[in-house]
Amino acid sequence: MTATAPSVRPPAGGPGGDERLLRSSPLRKLLGRPELGSVVGALAVFLFFALVADSFLRASSLATVLYAASTIGIMAVPVSLLMIGGEFDLSAGVMVTSSALLSSMFSYQMTANVWVGVGVSLVATVGIAAFNGFMLTVTKLPSFIITLGTFLMLTGLNLGFTKLIDGTVSTKTIGDMWGFHSAHEVFASTWTVGGMDLKVTILWWLLMVAVATWILLRTRFGNWIFAAGGSAEAARAVGVPVKRTKILLYMGVGFGAWVTGQNLLFSFDAVQSGEGVGNELIYIIAAVIGGCLITGGYGSAIGSAVGALIFGMTNKGIVFAEWNPDWFKFFVGAMLLLATLLNAWVRKRAEASRS
């Protein structure tokens, strides 16, 4: 039990040391980063469209790509944290629409300042998301089932309530109401930076990626997220509040849905009640391409941002290349497969026991 002196790299076979010391190289270490696959993929996609689409490298095109990426990315961040925590949220896509509808309809019906609707929407959306998390931890059913239920219910509520209140499938315009201008500034304004017309959502996106990365890597809560997804039993055994962690992660998704929903509303001045269906899969795919393991316990917020960027580039790149947009889905599917294969390999490497 004597403490061996902290000598420089004891040779293999020395006291306490072993043959493992020879194993790792900087390259291997780099390969161990969750974002790596997505960064390589993003570079490949960028080069590809830069070559095949002449207009892709124009400032206006890049701004369009970034805007598309940011609307996906804002949701991909909390969805990836949730996935690292070991759960899914299939209701994330329609929740965005619910949030926008709530905000719009509440302001209109109450003839209140739109900020009141925005506030009510925040509370309600985070509440719906917390309901997801609460149901999950109480019933212990798979999140796939719980959120599939919420997904269907929200889809129905979105259509039903909008028709009931407004008589059509879209909300009444709130463009002339009090507070619309300032809310538009916060959620949907455009800034001109160096000749590029950048949407404010890009700022929201970067902010969320930064905060999520901070939380994941530098806070106790981040440690608990990884543990809750990696092995809930082991985490519970050392005193990690696994249930609370998961409910908070769902609430994070609610917050993201609120931001995206307000952008949806204030980019125009009305919302289509049928929107958002299918987007939940896009968020999940962005998280997976970004290196999140479907089974939880591994991934990064930055990776989800790169995944969203790949989405934005592919989506708009196909348009700039003047191809049939039908090809988009093929690209997405191929990238998802590649990303999952890479992830599976990473996991095998990380979990391989060398006993």
Partner: protein, 286 residues
């Protein structure tokens, strides 16, 4: 209903009169009409290893659950540092200095070693929104504590899943020691490990003992138990089948008792007579 079998010496010398860290006195546990444990007594002293031996279904798991606070005992007396008590939760057991290392529940495989080490008790610095993990301290402490136990990791950032089963057990043990455990309960730490890895784990168990902890080593391997143990408690079908100090019993006798004496002799005869198949070459592998 304590019925000591003939080999048992019920009046064991009480050491040098110290109060045991943990003492079970005629402890029983029933699940409905099932007798999981009855009349089991053992002592755990600081700087000693008490081995609990038994075959599958002997009541070893039940014993662990009582000592680690997962279940309350139904009869008898559980004393922690002389004070009669009943543990209500694993948290309470931890607070009273009893740490349990389970075979599979020990770690989160995909997380780095240092994050695993501090999981659930992470040190932080800074205030308010800038309250953050003290990662430098966490890495340094992990490295240092593991080195103290004789494990020199090149990289505490590697996922703990890349360590061998034995090393993972050792990290869990080092963690318990660091967080101030006085009593360490080890659930089959050498099961599912190869011979060499088992040796490594036993070395760390001995290191924990030398650090002054009382250790409860649950195992079904009398050879491993005899290498490090000071006291041996044999369980069989929920009751004590023997309780010995090391100098009272030889390995052969321990093995014989554990396997059920005559049963083992019979088995050994059968095995001796069995012809060695030629294609196996007749040499023991592993």
């Amino acid at each position: 209903m304590i019925e000591p079998p003939e080999e048992v010496t019920p009046e064991r010398p009480g050491g040098d009169g110290r109060t045991p860290l943990v003492e079970l006195d005629g402890v029983s546990k029933y699940y409905g009409n099932i007798r999981a444990l009855e009349g089991v007594s053992l002592e755990v002293h600081a700087g000693e290893i008490t081995c609990v031996l038994g075959d599958n279904g002997a009541g070893k798991s039940t014993l662990i659950k009582i000592v680690s606070g997962l279940h309350r005992h139904d009869g008898g007396d559980l004393r922690i540092e002389g004070e009669s008590t009943a543990l209500a939760s694993p948290r309470e057991a931890l607070d009273r200095g009893i740490a349990t290392v389970y075979q599979d529940l020990a770690v989160v495989p995909l997380m780095p070693v240092w994050r695993n080490f501090f999981l659930g008790s992470e040190p932080t610095r800074g205030k308010g929104p800038f309250r953050r993990l003290d990662t430098a301290l966490m890495r340094e402490t992990t490295r240092g504590e593991l080195r103290r136990m004789g494990i020199d990791l090149r990289d505490v950032d590697q996922p703990i899943g890349t360590l061998s089963g034995g090393e993972r057990q050792c990290v869990a043990i080092a963690r318990a020691v660091y967080f101030g455990a006085k009593v360490l309960v080890l659930d089959e730490p050498t099961a599912a490990l190869g011979v060499k890895q088992s040796g490594v784990v036993l070395k760390y168990v001995a290191a924990a003992r030398d650090a002054g902890l009382g250790v409860v080593l649950i195992t079904h391997n009398p050879h491993h138990a005899y290498l490090v143990g000071n006291r041996f408690v044999l369980l069989k079908r929920g009751v004590m089948a023997g309780s010995h100090l090391k100098d009272e019993i030889a390995l052969d006798e321990l093995t014989r008792q554990m396997a059920g004496g005559s049963e083992l002799e019979e088995l050994s005869h059968e095995l001796e007579r069995a012809p060695v198949p030629g294609h196996l070459g007749g040499h023991p592998s592993d």
